[in-house]
């Protein structure tokens, strides 16, 4: 997909209008329930989680059901609308397990053909349960070699383990919201086969240790499995495909969140530049400040439309997702970091304080840049998916 083709695809997806009302509904929710004070309070609490806040987001607003068909307990609409939610919440930094639970766990489970997971899936969609996914050990862009959990199908003789039951051993790191998750989807290896298993958070064989993070608004944990009971829900080629699809969609959702955060950073910087007076005039009259803001908008505006096209491609042109996902994740990660740095810089000394909010955005930017893989890793993946793998040799 190159220039002309990208334009043609974009026109097709942009011909589908955004579902009205989603953006306003989330903005209204945010104005009430995701104020700066609320965000600070939750972020600086020991667990980084507020159940009332989650109840308002998932229960009342129905955020965990967006893009899930009504017959599965969701509120309908599509991934494009989920991306809008991620974008609007991203501008607030509201700590919530939405990424882990809706974008990761729900997407994983909805692709598993096992009927037993339906009740769990419905509970996740309703926000009654919180889910997450344990991918691997390195936190780098995921590859099968990254998996640190081995899976043994349980013998029928083991008491209390149902058919398709298994036992897990090993560990996973960088598990989003691992400490508050009610259920975990675990990526493991059974002999040579990639395997997906569902684990209940209260299992005795599971221990969770929170990892200290620079971003207090998104918690991560190390999870250890010792003969931990689990239910196998996918295996082999279908497991590989599911993990790939979910990570691509997660990349796009996260990119949408980054657009929202960057927009807030730019808004803050511009507002400050208009009002802060030094040398007898607003600092926004100085070209260096002006141009720094323009540079942020340049990359942000391109990001915004590309993420919208990518999110709509998930719903309407899924064959383009494997290329668009790494493309937007790499670009938006760098774009968000630049916007957050510019926000700190334009605020001068205040920007460097703990009290001022710019630091929260910078930390979310740095953290989300690394999440699911760095820009460099995503660009590598992009080229591979374009058929340019690194073993290319020329005529020379």
């Amino acid at each position: 997909m190159t220039g002309v083709l990208a334009g043609r695809i974009a026109r097709r997806v942009f011909a589908v209008p955004e579902e009205p009302g989603v953006r306003e509904a989330v903005a209204q929710f945010a104005a009430r329930d995701a104020t700066h004070d609320t965000v600070r309070r939750i972020a600086e609490s020991p667990s980084g989680f507020d159940r009332d806040s989650w109840q308002a987001l998932a229960g009342e607003l129905g955020a965990a059901g967006i893009g899930v068909p009504e017959e599965c307990g969701g509120v309908g609409m599509g991934f494009a609308e989920l991306a809008v939610v991620m974008e609007e919440l991203g501008s607030t930094l509201l700590p919530s397990p939405l990424l882990a639970s809706r974008v990761l766990a729900v997407e994983m489970l909805s692709r598993c053909a096992v009927p037993e997971v339906r009740p769990t899936l419905r509970a996740l969609v309703a926000g009654d349960l919180i889910g997450t996914v344990a991918f691997g050990t390195s936190g780098r862009r995921w590859r099968p070699e990254d998996v640190g959990v081995s899976v043994r199908p349980a013998e029928r003789a083991v008491v209390g383990v149902e058919p398709m039951g298994c036992l897990l051993d090993g560990e996973a790191s960088y598990v989003l919201d691992g400490a508050i998750a009610d259920v975990l989807v675990v990526v493991g290896v059974d002999g040579g086969s990639l395997t997906l298993c569902l684990v209940v958070g209260t299992e005795p064989g599971l221990s969770v240790r929170p990892m200290e993070t620079i971003d207090l608004t998104r918690r991560q944990a190390k999870v250890r499995f010792e003969r931990c009971r689990a239910r196998m829900i996918a295996r082999g080629a279908s497991a590989v495909e599911i993990v790939g699809q979910v990570l691509d969609r997660a990349a796009i959702a996260l990119a949408a969140e980054q657009v929202g955060g960057a927009q807030r950073c730019l808004d803050m910087a511009v507002a400050y530049a208009k009002q802060r007076v030094q040398f007898g005039r607003p600092i926004g009259t100085f070209q260096a400040v002006k141009h720094a803001c323009a540079d942020v908008l340049l990359e942000l505006d391109a990001a915004r439309w590309t993420v919208r096209a990518a999110a709509r491609a998930v719903d309407h042109l899924p064959q383009e997702v494997p290329v668009l996902a790494p493309l937007v994740k790499a670009h938006c990660s760098q774009m968000y970091e630049s916007a957050a740095r510019a926000c700190v810089q334009i605020h001068g000394g205040i920007g460097f304080t703990w009290e001022f909010s710019a630091q929260l955005y910078l930390k979310r930017a740095l953290s989300s840049k690394a999440l699911f893989g760095t820009p460099r890793e995503h660009r590598e993946a992009l080229l591979n998916r374009l058929g340019l793998d690194s073993t290319q040799r020329g005529e020379r």
Partner: protein, 422 residues
Amino acid sequence: MSEGTLAAPTAVDEHTISLTEFLNEARAWLEANCQPHTEDTSDDIDVQVFRNLSHEREEALIRAEAQWQQAKLAAGYVALDWAVEDGGRGLAAPYTSAFDRLEAEFGAQLSHELVLVTVKLIAPTLRRFARPEQRQVHMRDFLSATQLCCQLFSEPGAGSDLAALATRARRDGDGWVVTGQKVWSSGAQFADWGLLLARTAPEQPKHAGITAFLVPMDAPGVRVRPLRQLSGGSSFCEVFLDDVLLTDELRVGEPGQGWAVAMTTLGFERESSDGSAGIGGSWELVRELALRDGHGGDAVIRQGLAQVYTRTVMNSITAAADAVRRAEGEDLGATGSLRKLQWVRLLAEISDLVAEMLGAELTADSGRRATFAWRDHVLGAVGYSIAGGTDEVQRSIIAERLLGLPAERREDKSIPWNEVPR
């Protein structure tokens, strides 16, 4: 509905062709009639940003494009959204963008800057400001590219600060006498006419004392001198005007309305469908180079390749989004400044990557195909950070008009032009 309201010229009646039918007909016509011109007989790649043709070859190219424009006009594929009485077809905006895309598919879109300026910038400007006689003659001539018109805007002393222009038009009986110097006029050496901005009221503040005129380029006192640019070619000219006599019939718009004429022309430049297509190198050529020369395994080159691809895709997506928004009636304001910078960034990223891949083969001709030819891109790209509004000016426009940051204090905006230090 108030009495006396004229029906809008572009009103759609029940006989309007559907978009699908229109596209089918247009495609069939293009298939039967289009002969994409190949300017270059060499078998090397063409990644020129600015042309570097001999005078004869360039003249032949212009003639071919003008003939193509006339063929399209006769078949009804020009100025689709103009009223029928102006030479158009009264169709809505989506038809125009659809035809432009179709034409691009066939590689048949206009590419020479003089023809583009004449057809896409000056003809619609005249439609806005010209008197009936000027519309009947000049506007139609320019729309059909039967006559070609260059812009006589910038001056050595008025580039970024165009409104400071000093070329003087003095009243002379019923007409005017013009003296001054213009620069950066694309294709002036081939133009029949020039759209001139001249100062008619030096005692007014700079924006208020400008008037627009049409100047016959063969009038006594008009002297054209091509400028050679660092990329080798001569796309632009200096134009000297020494006591050039103009009748008042050649005035475009009212005296003092020249700035509005200028802004309208520049506005059409911003709106015109991606004129940057086909200029300089492309993702496809960059990829080919990487594969041919075995750079596909180098980690640093791979990052650069991914970046060029990303930028290409993003530019295409934003152009498509803009077209949809425009068609829905949204005013995009200074969004064109963002898009120009995006494009300049792509040119620069391609330059950097290609330089890394080619090394000294970029700067000294080894004779190998698709190596030294890339210098046309690298050298030409330098010009577009400046032409069409410098990067610095674009950033200030973005900051002030899109972000609302306060304008800098400008000393010269409201005092008489003739009191401003120069």
